[in-house]
């Protein structure tokens, strides 16, 4: 089993987020180093969990207005053509699934087999997700079209 303290978690997360945004949304990410939790009056968070030799979560936090832009880009539509919030949630869930799937694969390839959950979505105003008891907690922010979004990863090994 690998030592998770040596894993380049932030590098994995940045690369897979870049790849997803580039391929599915045709957007180039402008990554900003950030240790601060993202505060946004109205945001949507997509999370997937993995469980096995390692446990963890990977979440993407996106302001609602930008989430709509992402949904439109993924579906090849204009933002005002998006029918409802279900479509936006589905896109954010799928983005978190793709980022989480890539991270999960890297963990498995590093000798830390685990299974991936289906995505979950949280919506709300001015909330912060706090999670305790993890061995590693990494996050990075990125800027896109004037919006600030964030990806964070929590991970711990299971004895």
């Amino acid at each position: 089993m690998s030592d998770i303290s040596k894993l380049d978690l932030i590098g994995f997360a940045i690369n897979s987020t870049r790849d997803v945004f580039q391929t599915m949304l045709s957007m180039k990410l402008n990554v900003i180093e950030s240790r601060l939790p993202m505060k946004s009056p109205n945001k949507i968070v997509g999370c997937v969990s993995f469980a096995g030799d390692v446990m963890g979560n990977i979440c993407i936090h996106v302001p609602s207005a930008f989430a709509r832009v992402m949904a439109a880009a993924m579906l090849g539509m204009e933002p005002d053509e998006i029918e409802g919030e279900d479509e936006v949630s589905d896109v954010i869930g799928e983005v978190s699934n793709m980022i989480g799937g890539d991270l999960k694969s890297r963990l498995c390839d590093a000798g830390l087999p685990c299974q991936l959950s289906i995505p979950s979505i949280t919506r709300g105003n001015d909330f912060v997700i706090e999670s305790k008891g993890w061995m590693r907690h990494e996050r990075f922010a990125f800027q896109q079209q004037g919006h600030l979004a964030m990806v964070e990863v929590f991970i711990k090994t299971v004895n």
């Binding site: 790849d19 997803v20 580039q22 391929t23 599915m24 949904a71 993924m74 579906l75 090849g76 279900d86 479509e87 589905d90 896109v91 869930g93 799928e94 699934n97 793709m98 989480g100 799937g101 890539d102 999960k104 694969s105 890297r106 498995c108 390839d109 087999p113 991936l116 959950s117 289906i118």
Partner: protein
Amino acid sequence: MTLKVLAIDDSKTIRKIVAKAFSTYDCDVAEAENGVEGLSVASRNKPDLIVLDITMPVMNGIEMLSKLKGQPELKDIPVIMLTAESGKDNVMQIVKMGVKDYIVKPFKGEQLIERVMKIYTLEPKGATAVNEFSNPFFSVFDDVQVLTLPEKPDRAAIAEIEGNLGTALKSMASKGLSHFVLDTKKVKEINMLIIKLIMAVVQACEKNKVHLRFVGSEGLENELKGFEETSRFTIHSSVKDAKATF
């Protein structure tokens, strides 16, 4: 032949991306949200190809695939797996289960089409429209393409006919047909719109090396004699008579 595709993914977004990828080809895409629904649609529709996600609620793609392989009437349907997981073990597991191919998300529709092209030849939608061309004004009798004008062709009808003329001729070419009859017998009054349409038909037939005959009244013959392009044509009293002259 229209390719029947079944896209199984819990994400409506991914199903839309898959459907959009096939939208320019002669494909009929059915959708299902999970493995249980996917098996049911597959049993009912007998698709030619299944695009299957792995991580889904109710029944995941791996379980559905194993059930699919256990059903004699479904086991040979080619399956392309969509997976968010590119890990070595995951890929090995998929390959061992007998899928035709797999695509790691994120992916573009073009990548999916490339993989499908390794299994099937996809015909662009236009090509099928030519082969299976159907329009109320155009019909084929005994290997002769017949264009029947209505009693009072208005601008909309004439525009529709002109718009479909090229496709009708392409359809004829694809079937090896070269005989065309323009039937104006029902037309009450020959006006300039109809003369213009007749000219367009004459020119299109000449360009496509298609033999053209006319069916209509004596009045039409008199009208056509007034134009250089149409003066040589004899007007026949019925489609049967016109066909007999080819």
